[in-house]
């Protein structure tokens, strides 16, 4: 491929896609440094931490003792064979890794779930009950004149979101695009990245995160012509809510942005639903859309591949041979807490920070080197990171775009998909 040839010398890569958050920026430049890789251009705190992590190549282990990869694979297969109900969790991997997990979970008769699916289910439940109007990154970047950031610390989850989607100077629809209004609906949200020529007003409406739904429900009711009494709506002055509604109605293309991981409270799906129903209603007369973010650690790829292969977005059991779906019963964390499983296979291939849950059931850990589980796993197989140690594909947070990941360095760390296929073959 042309882009892999270097105009700057050996091992200098341009247009590199970054797997370390759901946005999958693909404009990075990466070159060699004395200690490994260096992000030369378009980096952020997450990509620098990820790409510049030193290569270490520890040995696979069984019960804490170094063994060969083949011995570790044989031990893992034995554990799965002997398990009554294994959980295949974590799933922080690329498309090929999820494909391999799905095949293994079918054959091993287990449950699949992603590490961050509690957050994903704040969205999936809304999809499964009422649906939504959504947009994607490029569409929002070029078209939106109003952004509402709903209770989500977007900058922390996605350090380049504002730079690339909100503060971009060029728009394909005008040589002199109008300034944008950015509304932060929530408390303590980092606004530092919202700056530059495109940004007009920046408003802060300090509402508690778990009351955002009330505000959106009230705006929806007001928009329908209903009467709402009281001067206070969800903790905001009524006038502020009415003003926000007027701004939404006046926008040529408004976008409400939320990141489900930030909506970390009970029944937060109802907040996502309030946002989505409001957006639907505004679309009866003008254009508006939602943009859900999050999806770090390969969560989007896991949901998508599980969705197209099994019909269901995660939390599927193959114990009977058929896909058996129950988003409550087969939630990994609930099952571990209730001790309904007797084996956890945990897959985390992007960062050493995605540690497995602390559980006393036996564990097979396919992890990034330096991952620190609370207890020694029965089997530990260090695996490579997609986009650094091997090529791959991931699905972006808007569930439309997928991006190719490249192999940037030579390492002996195996690809998770290859390890999983060998375990499956050994079952």
């Amino acid at each position: 491929m042309e882009s892999e040839k270097s105009s700057h010398g050996a091992n200098h890569h341009t247009n590199v896609a970054c797997p370390f958050c759901g946005i999958l920026c693909d404009d990075l430049e990466i070159g060699p440094s004395s200690e490994g890789l260096k992000v030369l251009k378009n980096g952020c705190v997450k990509s620098v931490a990820g790409f510049e992590r030193k290569l270490v190549e520890p040995s696979p282990q069984v019960d804490g003792k170094d063994v060969s990869l083949d011995e570790a694979i044989a031990a893992a297969a034995r554990l799965i064979r002997e398990s009554h109900l294994p959980i295949f969790g974590g799933l922080a991997t690329d498309v090929e890794g999820v494909r391999a997990i799905m095949a293994l979970a079918e054959k091993g008769g287990g449950i699949v779930d992603h590490a961050l699916s509690d957050a994903q289910y704040r969205n999936f439940k809304v999809l499964q009950t009422s649906g939504w109007v959504m947009t994607t990154l490029t569409e929002a970047r070029n078209r939106a004149d109003l952004f509402i950031i709903a209770g989500s610390d977007v900058h922390k989850l996605h350090p380049r979101f504002f730079e690339r989607i909100v503060c971009n100077e060029a728009s394909m629809f005008s040589d002199n695009p109008p300034k944008r209004t950015v509304v932060f609906l929530g408390e303590g949200l980092d606004q530092s990245a919202v700056k530059g020529n495109r940004i007009g007003e920046v408003l802060t409406l300090p509402v508690k995160t778990d009351r955002i739904g009330e505000v959106l429900d009230a705006m929806r009711a007001l928009n329908k012509g209903a009467t709402i009494t009281g001067d206070n709506i969800g903790g905001l002055p009524r006038a502020a809510v009415e003003d926000l509604l007027e701004r939404c109605k006046a926008a040529s293309y408004g976008v409400v942005v939320w990141a489900p991981p930030s909506l970390s409270f009970a029944n937060a799906d109802l907040t996502v639903q309030a946002v989505s129903e409001f957006v639907k209603d505004i679309n009866l007369t003008s254009r508006f859309a939602g943009l859900a973010l999050g999806g770090n650690e390969g969560a989007v790829s896991a949901g998508a591949v599980c969705g197209w292969q099994s019909g269901f977005p995660l939390r599927v059991s193959f114990a009977s041979g058929k896909p058996d779906y129950d988003s409550e019963r087969y939630a990994m964390n609930r099952m571990l807490y209730a001790k309904e499983s007797d084996l956890l296979l945990w897959l985390a291939s992007f960062t050493p920070d995605l540690s497995p849950p602390d559980t006393d059931i036996p564990m097979i850990l396919l992890g990034t080197p330096s991952i620190k589980p609370a207890r020694t796993p029965k089997v530990y197989i260090p695996v490579g990171t997609p986009g650094i140690d091997h090529a791959g594909i991931m699905v972006r947070v808007d569930n439309v775009v997928s991006l190719p990941l490249r192999k940037l360095r030579n390492s002996t760390l195996p690809r998770a998909a290859d390890v999983l296929e060998k375990i499956e073959a050994a079952l």
Partner: protein
Amino acid sequence: MLIKLTGGKVYDPANGVDGEVRDIFIENGRIVSPEPTAKVDQEYPLHGRVIMAGGIDPHSHIGGGKMTIARMLLPEDHIGHEVARTELTRAGVGHAVPSTMTTGYRYAEMGYTAAFEPAMLPANARQAHMEMGDTSIIDKGAFVMLGSDDFFLRQLAGKADFAAIKDYIAWTMHAAQAIAVKVVNPGGISAFKFNQRKLDLDEKHVYYGVTPRDIIVTLARGLHELGVVHPLHIHGCNLGVPGGYETTLETIRGAEGLPIHLTHIQFHSYGTEGDLKFSSAAAPIAEAVNANKNVSCDVGQVMFGQTCTASGDSMRQFVNTRSADPKKWVVMDIECDAGCGVVPFKYRDKSFVNALQWAIGLELFLLVNDPWRLFLTTDHPNGGPFTWYPHLIRLLMDKEFRRDRMQTINQDALKYSTLASLDREYSLYEIAIMTRAGPARSLGLVDRGHLGVGAWADITVYDDNPDREAMFTTPELLFKNGELIVRNGKIVKVVNGGTHVMRPSYDPGIERSLKGYFEDYHTVRMDNFRLSDDEIVNGGRGSLIIQPTRARAA
């Protein structure tokens, strides 16, 4: 290994063979004509059986983001339709929107060996191909959507050189690994993003100032001159709108004799007569199709029951959300490229509108007289799941059965349709045209869709059961590239199908403007937008079948 299929009745319209008893020989995956003395290694005595090429579905939504949205949207539709893993096959689900592997198994079990995804967004092409890569056994291919993407609309509005527009069309076919091009509500998906709610054939896009007619003619001429075999695949303006048939007629006239394919034409054949201002206009549409040899179409037959509509037509689907059943739906604006709308539907036989839609589809089948230009589809899953095909074939072949079914539907609907007066019954030969030879010829599939010497041995063997629904539901044998895949409706071997693509030539200079466009406006770089061949092949999971174009005309 030489395989002999002995004594079957062969229906091979591409070679003019209409039910003659013939032996077929297979060697190395292809149909051969061996020396009389050659040793036959395996023989299948097929006396009295019906033999056709493997079925080819030219319009079935099987892969891409909107299908996975539909799958996730409707867990309740999967319940009761779960399929267990076997030693050969993977687990899955299947009713309105089957999971990927199950989709492949169901097609094979029904005697089909290829299906084409008709609405692949360039921005979503990678995922569409990954889903198709997980669709077992059958060959696949996809039509890439153009016409509401901003690069093309900017070219058209900016009066770009026609050669540059053709280069862009061809570049997109390469980049997205497509075999053909589809336009959906031409310009309308983009116009909806600017808050336009309808866009008639001669109505101007509020921002770009171009009309659907401009878009259709430009794309149709572009494809014709590029030598792409399948003509522009048109999902016209005003889908589902009463009175929309006039737009359809005007679209045919507006093609100026250029080859065009009008897809799911049933949804575009509605009149405005009667108390409910909804009636069949199948007769004038069929008359126009019959009279214009440059036009081909597929029907998009409606079948009764639960399904899920999934379309790139965000503008029309937003209107259809009012009829969502169950009441949940997704509409998306996508990447300055396209859009989508996913709306579950339940077609009811006692509903006036749904019954009339069913009747209009059948009328079109029975009134269009050239099966080479009319293909059998339900626009899966929009009119109904593809698993209805055997039932639909019986409706076309058996007028008594059709009459019985007509008794069960809303009787008022029949008053606004000519269906009751139509006695035509399709022959096996005509069915073989509509489901094999016609789609293969229209798509430009070399050595597929026929049973002549040299063809790939994709072969379906049926019991000649007078109950045509039973016959087409459970073929006795299915061979894919000469390998036995299905016996008595059950899969006995699983293989990976290939992906058909077509690659018209273009001036790579177009990439200079595309590269800047992607860097200035998009969130993906051009080099990452483009799919490589390796992504399709993926270490043997898939393979590429590159179909030849005709000569580039200009």
